[in-house]
Homo-oligomer: 328 residues x 2
């Protein structure tokens, strides 16, 4: 089996041209309350209209479909941020989106996806891939995968281009890892443009299949039951062959964080950075706080901010010390 | 008594030149989940390093002090965002800051002010102006007022310049009003650059002295006990002669909002815009939601995000419906 072809920084640059004006070019937000040895900036992808970076990959992938084929619409299966990303991106292109979601998806997520004009198809547990395939068959629409596609990786990589433009002497970049599309894309851009930077993936300890896989040199599978234990519900996927090959090429290492560290990071982002993060979006700050990183300018990717009100309230209420724990 | 000289858009432009590189040029964040007849953008001043717009006025005012005088430092009295703004701005200029705070100020606010290297002077109730005057006398430092100064107004006005640049056809701008420096500055810029735009101040019903004053044509005083009833602790001041004259000149009207509307807006900003707001920072969204505004592109100023963890948790927990109340 031949090694997959890797996305290049030129692919990422082409994606950036395609996305210009359709996404928010998020600012790097300085965090002067952090460790002075490791000056910190936050890249808040939570401020994208759908609340997560996923809109970049979805727009790039849909933009790359042949226009004659694209008019037949797109299909995606997701209960999370990818669903809203594809729904939003399809609306921007004026095409139909069919989003397959499990029946147990919270009503608010279904409502948010429908807000963008998408058709939501609910299905039984474990049937979403089959239902999506059937929709592709029936409608001629194109499937947009959440991470396992070069155009999705290149779209997410535009975040890395923006970091390299705004902070060319960045020393360390910390990126959440799940299916690996985000870290593959950002890593590709940073590796090319800031060759001295260290690029860390970050995973929950309870879903650390990529950390184990990179150590072993080949993908490690964890059961979905095990991966479902983490509160970081956006980080329960595993890399594909394509993204794993990218991660092997671009990552310095993968760091892991505990559930308590993730919760503390959500609270710290809310109270000190005034940014709402979902648990998955906060793992990079958790790694910054709890690993001994090399000194130098550091960027964390806050990948998404779609958290339910009750969970946010509970986490913030349980962390009263967050307001002062960095005080002096 | 002659009418005060008003700040001009050229003063605001000069302030923008002075601030460039020292503040965050905040993006306008689109809020596609809002009312389609009144497309909404949020100007998140909560993302400034001190969590509020106040840093703009403080930097401009300190930048305008004669350099020989400036070396003697600055003094401010505040228990809120102005304290941290002056502390931060003084540190940028490498000068001393003496911040007078009431003894009952929460420890976290004192710690945040000290983080920037300021000297905090605690004083008894009602004595802060006298203590500040004594510090000026002893040290030769310059007092930086929170709103009653043309340089402070011009600094806050840079927000208006940015809005006019980013959204030149803005139809409506909604701005929190307390001492009135923010609305005076933004109003000056918008009135000059977007002459057709409507500019509304927003006040809590429980501290609506400016609404009453503009209706009457002269300032109305409310007791501090009355003004202290609102949860919006940053909106308990009253305009000075200088800011009131600006508000008379630039505002279309002042809208008022209830305490419940303010709380709902804090929750909506957190869950739908993924932005943490203090109650004072959320009044413009409350007015957008609860007043019948003219159709057209609308910008709200989210003026600050410094809220205590417990209060944020309580407000978000009490608003479970926020996730879906705009769903369709």
């Amino acid at each position: 089996m031949s090694a997959p072809t890797l996305v290049t920084v030129d692919d990422v640059r082409a994606a950036a041209d395609r996305l210009r004006g359709s996404i928010m070019r998020t600012p790097l937000i300085p965090a002067p309350w952090a460790d002075p040895q490791r000056p910190l900036w936050i890249k808040p992808e939570s401020l994208q209209v759908i609340g997560a970076f996923k809109v970049r990959g979805a727009l790039n992938a849909i933009g790359r479909i042949d226009p004659d084929v694209r008019t037949r619409g797109v299909v995606a299966y997701s209960s999370g941020n990818h669903a809203q990303a594809v729904a939003y991106a399809a609306a921007r292109f004026g095409i139909d989106a069919h989003i397959v979601m499990p029946e147990e998806t919270p009503a608010v997520k279904v409502a948010r996806t429908r807000e963008h004009g998408a058709r939501v198809v609910l299905c039984g547990a474990g049937r979403r891939e089959a239902v999506a395939a059937q929709l592709v068959e029936e409608t001629g629409a194109t499937l947009v995968p959440p991470f396992d596609h070069p155009d999705v990786i290149a779209g997410q990589g535009t975040i890395g281009l923006e970091i390299a433009e705004d902070l060319p002497d960045v020393g360390t970049v910390l990126i959440p890892v799940s299916g690996g599309g985000l870290a593959s894309g950002i890593g590709t851009a940073i590796r090319a443009l800031c060759p001295d930077a260290r690029i860390y993936g970050v995973e929950p300890e309870l879903a650390a299949d990529t950390a184990a896989g990179l150590r072993r040199g080949s993908r490690v599978s964890m059961s979905i039951e095990d991966r479902n234990r983490t509160i970081a519900d956006g980080l329960r996927s595993q890399p594909s062959e394509l993204t794993f090959a990218h991660l092997q090429h671009v990552l310095t290492d993968v760091l892991t964080v505990s559930e308590g560290q993730i919760r503390s990071a959500v609270a710290e982002l809310a109270i000190r950075a005034r940014l709402v993060s979902e648990p998955s979006g906060a793992v990079a700050l958790a790694a910054y706080r709890h690993h001994r990183l090399p000194p130098g300018k550091t960027v964390i990717i806050l990948s998404g901010g779609n958290i339910e009100a009750d969970l946010l309230a509970q986490i913030v209420a349980q962390s009263p010390e967050v307001g002062v724990h960095q005080g002096n």
